[in-house]
């Protein structure tokens, strides 16, 4: 297999006039994995994907798909399948004809149209006009188009929008199987739970900037706090703060952030302080996500962020 990542974004900045949509964003999507691309609405996920796919020009930085800019790929639909939010359909065209057009434009031939319809459960609606489709059916059709060329990479922008629970379950299972067979998936969502179950890694952005990157489990680690209960809390607190921890009162206990649990225990032992409770409270994924992407009144200023883990996969 190619050593290069399937998708690579290097120092990408995208501005629309004075508005900075994406700022100095870098990450890579390896083969054989599902990468969740997370962030609230307007965070810059769709813009990043559009630049990656050659639909919008980068203001600065570079993007690579299978080692090449997307526009440099020969017959790209045979290598990369993409489903973009707000992907268009002519309302008067049938589902089958939409795929026939896409296939012909992509130089694929129309032999795979029925297979792609079947893969997403759209065979029954093949002759229906897209203008009468629900959002969920349009999402399935967009996925059919992405699968037409039997690609090795999928770039999916909010693909679960409008899907019913069975559709979401099918999507997760399909993506897991796709990645397990060596494919690479970049899937965006503003709802963490949609992708947490299937994503191996997550990239979280807010206001166009990276706020977290790593294995999905790392999200909860980033948001964890140490709970310590002690009859000597009045003495323990300044000792912790002297080590740089942030300490808050919480229902008779202290909530400590900024120090690992082991260090809290060591400090208590050093000062011979009695502890009644010492544990880590792990944030739920949603809590961790929200703590990373807190609303900010000034869109030009990103919230205070935990440091992203060091990157070793980019040259």
């Amino acid at each position: 297999m190619d050593d290069r990542p399937a998708l690579e974004i290097r120092s990408l900045t995208k501005r629309y006039g004075e508005t900075v949509a994406v700022q100095d964003l870098s990450f890579a999507v390896p083969h054989g994995s599902v990468t969740g691309f997370l962030g609230p609405n307007g965070a810059g996920k769709s813009t990043t994907m559009r630049v990656l796919l050659g639909l919008a020009a980068a203001t600065q930085g570079e993007t690579f798909v299978l080692g090449s800019p997307y526009v440099g790929l020969e017959r790209p639909l045979g290598r990369v399948g993409a489903s973009l939010e707000l992907a268009g359909f002519h309302p008067g065209r049938t589902a089958r004809n939409h795929l026939r057009v896409v296939a012909m434009q992509g130089g694929l031939g129309t032999g795979g149209v029925d297979r792609a319809l079947e893969a997403t459960g759209m065979t029954t609606y093949a002759s229906g006009r897209v203008g009468k489709f629900s959002l969920g059916m349009k999402q399935r059709l967009a996925l059919s188009a992405a699968l037409l060329g039997e690609p090795e990479v999928l770039v999916l922008d909010e693909p679960a929008n409008g899907l019913d629970p069975a559709g979401v379950a099918w999507l997760r299972s399909f993506l897991r199987s796709f990645a397990d067979n060596g494919g690479a998936v970049l899937i965006s969502s503003h709802i963490l739970s949609e992708v947490a179950e299937v994503a191996d890694r997550v990239v979280v952005i807010d206001h166009g900037r990276m706020v977290h990157e790593g294995p999905t489990e790392s999200l909860t680690a980033q948001g964890s706090v140490v709970i310590v209960r002690s009859p000597d809390a009045a003495r323990l607190r300044p000792a912790l703060e002297a080590q740089g921890a942030t300490v808050t009162d919480a229902e008779g206990a202290l909530e400590v952030t900024g120090l690992p649990i082991e260090r809290v225990g060591e400090l208590a032992a050093r000062d011979s302080l009695v502890l009644h409770e010492l544990r880590t409270r792990v944030h739920t994924l949603e809590q961790a996500f929200l703590s990373l992407t807190e609303p900010n009144d000034d869109p030009g200023v990103p919230p205070a962020l935990p440091e992203a883990p060091p990157r070793s996969d980019l040259p």
């Binding site: 559009r50 790209p76 268009g88 065209r93 049938t94 012909m104």
Partner: protein, 253 residues
């Protein structure tokens, strides 16, 4: 490129607009021709118009053929929608994902407009002849025809295909469907005529009432010799293609 042209033609064929416009153009031309043939000339009727009622000469038939020119603006509209529909319905992203090299898409659209425009023009110009043949057949007489009539029909086809191709280019430049269609029709039907009236020397340089009219069946409409007019039309097509490519390449989709 052949595959891309076929894809563009498939896009057209899998929606209804083209057939609606084609049927409309045929119906309108047929109705006007029937109205002309059925009306009774008065004592003050212009001699040329009087000839339209009787169709006694080849020149009369050529004059009648010009009614088929109505198809050209409709071909122009269809050409514009070939580009602007991509933005109206958001399919431009799908198109450029499949074919990221945008100049190829613009080229394919303009080439696909050639047979489409020609179909509109040839069919539109054929309708007056067919209606006249049927009309006078019921009266037990024939219509004078010679080898120049098919040539005139092809020339009207050329005018319509030019309109369709320019429609594609302008649609790609303007992107907004309503603005492109209204702008093209106002330009061709109003602006060119007004400016030509005010500054007659400019008339022949305009794309539709100048260059393309060199292929009118009426000698009085021809402001250019046909070879020169053909070159001017080609220059307009190349300019339209270059501008359309320039805009499409710089556009975020």
């Amino acid at each position: 490129m052949i595959t891309l042209i076929r894809a563009e033609l498939l896009k057209l064929r899998t929606t209804r607009l083209w057939i609606v416009l084609l049927v409309a153009s045929v119906a309108v031309v047929a109705l006007i021709v029937i109205a002309v043939l059925a009306s009774k000339p008065g004592p003050n009727t212009d001699p040329q118009d009087r000839g339209l009622h009787d169709l006694n000469t080849i020149a009369d038939v050529r004059t009648l053929l010009d009614i088929g020119g109505i198809a050209a603006p409709l071909a122009l509209v269809l050409g514009a929608t070939m580009s602007t529909s991509e933005y109206r319905y958001g399919t431009a992203g799908v198109t450029y994902l499949a074919t990221p090299r945008r100049p190829r898409v613009v080229t394919a659209k303009m080439l696909a407009a050639v047979p489409v425009g020609a179909l509109f023009g040839v069919l539109g110009a054929s309708v007056p002849v067919l209606v006249a043949l049927a009309w006078f057949a019921t009266k037990g007489r024939s219509v004078p025809l010679d080898g120049t009539i098919p040539l005139e029909i092809l020339q009207l086809g050329l005018q319509a295909l030019f309109g369709a191709v320019m429609g594609v280019a302008v649609g790609a430049i303007v992107r907004n469907q309503v603005a492109a269609i209204v702008g093209l029709l106002v330009w061709g039907l109003v602006v060119e005529n007004i400016v030509s009236g005010l500054i007659p020397a400019t008339a022949k340089w305009f794309p539709f009432n100048g260059a393309a009219s060199a292929f009118s069946s009426q000698a009085s409409d021809r402001l250019f010799a046909r070879p020169e007019a053909g070159l001017l039309m080609a220059a307009y097509v190349v300019l339209g293609w270059a501008l359309a490519v320039w805009f499409e390449r710089r556009r975020d989709v």
